[in-house]
């Protein structure tokens, strides 16, 4: 039972102080982003109604559940429908 942080993390520090299990650290394994120690993460069970890292993380897709699914899927935080974002990015790249 543990969450993980992937390469989309922007190192904003928001999750780190909230973790009730002190499972989050910066630069774990020398990687230039935040990481969750899967031996320590409790998914906030018994401590908070919402897993804290996922509840504050501003980046969609950066935090994954034990099955590898994004806790904040595309569009869920910014409100930008994924197809609109894809269109805009394609349009910018075509310039």
């Amino acid at each position: 039972m543990a969450f993980s942080i992937n390469e989309h993390c922007v190192n904003c520090w928001a999750c780190l102080p909230l973790c009730p299990s002190a499972a989050i650290s910066a630069n774990l394994d020398g990687r230039a982003r935040f990481a969750i120690d899967l031996r320590k993460c409790t998914e906030c069970d018994g401590a908070h109604a919402e897993p804290q890292c996922a509840a504050i993380c501003p980046i969609e897709g950066a935090i994954l559940d034990a099955a590898g699914a994004a806790l904040n899927p595309p569009g869920s935080l910014t409100g930008i429908p994924p197809h609109r974002l894809a269109e805009a990015m394609a349009e910018i790249q075509a310039r």
Partner: protein, 503 residues
């Protein structure tokens, strides 16, 4: 007719992505000086506090520098004009930052900058997240600076969500200026700007989240005012979302004691990756912004020289010398904080002396007290691009400064907005009606001083009882106004009341 090219004023030379709320920049007023300072109406104790604060005093921003340090990465809300992924050195928007600093690094940077740029007077923490969502980092930076550079003023800029719980800490660290970004006082509007807030260990979305944010902002504002901390309110103007609502915001925050309200334009481009950028939300046009600023102004001070700095900006407003102070470069600098503080004290004293000279010069340069004391006062409009001189073409003036001349002297009364009736576009064919607007804006003035004026407007002005005068081009405004007043007296024009006074 010489009304060809629309003069963009000093702002045309600014860095491309730095937007200014008002076309023409902050320097439209007489010498940006003495009588014309927008701070004039403030109570003396507040004026003292903001005297050398470049972000608050229109006058000070010509002399003093400020810097922001990026020590606060975390945020506790989402705004639709912000993209937390964005981080680019070429981008010059609020909230954008390239290099995150630890408090120790930030303090080193501040000391380095303050030693190199002795005009430094203010250090702000504004992000890239929210300073109060990172209280340890923010307050550790302030604590060290109060110790090592006590002459530097400290300020924070916050979204307000965590403000009530941090008011005590702010007061303890001697922060006397706080900026709160308040885009609305209505949760339904708030939900269209702030999709969620992180509150009491939950992500709260939509109207519920916006309601919490608004409550905390208002509570924080009241608490700060109660403790005598200066509060400025920033609002982002988002056409179709909160533009019609911001006059109400202005009224509310003013009633609660905010000393300044700064309406800034939304900056939204698809490449910023923000909700508004991607969804095609437009920013306000300059005239929409100016009209809203006027509507919000009332008797409250509006800030028109804000440059919407990056969260790690360094230097005078409109200038960013951040690249000179990267961590690598700072590491090579040899800094003596005490010597630097002494230098700052010297430089600031020189600046103040210079400002006082200017004020004294302005007061002494045009005595009118040899005229009969009973002469009636006269209002005159002046077209100027800045530097305190009459230097703008009548047809290019977007605003006029209005001065009152009387035997007691010349004093600045305020600005009048007027859309330029010639935008350099020969096809508009609409010159007359726009000139009408200008004439209305100048109602009550008996003369208009400008660098030049075309023949057609000359005739219309004369017919309206406003004497056009292009004879004082490049002269200091107060001198020119005094001179014209003398001439009017000599010509017997002051013996009668003008039509508009007797009508």
């Amino acid at each position: 007719m010489e009304l060809k090219v629309l003069d963009q004023g000093p702002s045309a030379a600014k860095a491309p992505s730095v937007k200014e709320p008002s076309a023409g920049g902050g320097c439209g007023q007489s010498a940006c000086g003495s009588s014309a300072d927008a701070m004039a109406h403030l109570p003396p104790h507040i004026r003292d506090k903001v005297r050398n604060h470049p972000c608050y005093s229109e006058q000070a921003h010509h002399y003093y520098a400020r810097m922001h340090v990026a020590v606060a990465p975390a945020c506790n809300i989402q705004c639709h004009y912000c993209n937390r992924k964005y981080d680019c050195a070429n981008e010059s928007r609020p909230g954008v930052v390239s290099e995150l600093l630890t408090p120790d690094q930030a303090v080193r940077k501040v000391l380095a900058v303050a030693a190199t740029i002795p005009q430094m007077s203010v250090l702000g923490i504004a992000g890239p997240g929210d300073p109060l969502a990172n209280p340890e980092r923010t307050f550790e930076t302030f604590r060290q600076l109060t110790e090592k550079a006590p002459d530097i003023k400290l300020c924070v800029s916050t979204n307000g969500l965590a403000l009530p719980e941090q008011v005590d800490a702010l007061c303890r660290h001697n922060i006397d200026h706080v900026t709160i970004t308040i885009n609305c006082v209505d949760p339904d509007i708030g939900a269209q700007i702030h999709p969620w807030v992180f509150w009491k260990n939950r992500r709260v979305r939509g109207v519920k989240g916006a309601k919490i944010l608004i409550e905390q902002q208002q509570k924080g504002l009241e608490m700060l005012v109660a403790r005598g901390v200066l509060v400025k309110v920033n609002s982002v103007m988002i056409p179709g979302v909160n533009d019609a609502h911001l006059a109400e915001v202005s009224k509310v925050v003013k009633a609660k004691g905010a000393f300044l309200h700064n309406v800034m334009p939304l900056i939204a481009e698809a490449e910023h990756g923000t909700f508004y950028g991607v969804m095609g939300q437009r920013g306000p046009r300059a005239e929409e912004l100016a009209a809203l600023q006027d509507a919000c102004a009332g008797d409250m001070n509006m800030m028109r020289h804000c440059r919407q700095c990056r969260a790690d900006a360094v230097g005078l407003l409109g200038q960013d010398r951040g690249a000179e102070f990267t961590l690598d470069r700072i590491a090579e600098m040899d800094i003596d904080p005490e010597a630097a503080m002494a230098t700052r004290a010297r430089v600031h004293a020189q600046i103040e002396a210079h400002r006082q000279d200017k004020a004294a010069e302005a007061a002494a340069a045009h005595p009118l007290d040899d005229l009969p004391a009973g002469l009636r006062p006269v209002l005159m409009a002046v077209a100027t691009k800045g530097q305190g001189v009459v230097n703008q073409h009548f047809g290019h003036a977007r605003e006029f400064l209005v001065y009152e001349a009387s035997p007691r002297g010349v004093r600045f009364m305020g600005h009048r907005k007027a859309d330029p009736y010639c935008g350099g576009d020969d096809t508009c064919g609409d010159g007359e009606s726009a000139l009408d607007i200008t004439l209305r804006a100048l109602a009550g003035c008996e003369a208009v001083l400008c660098a030049k004026v075309g023949i057609a407007p000359w005739e219309r002005l004369e017919a309206a009882g406003i004497m056009p005068n292009g004879e004082h081009a490049m002269e200091p405004i107060e001198d020119a106004v005094a001179q014209v007043y003398r001439e009017m007296h000599a010509a017997g024009a002051l013996d009668n009341n003008p039509d508009w006074m007797t009508a």
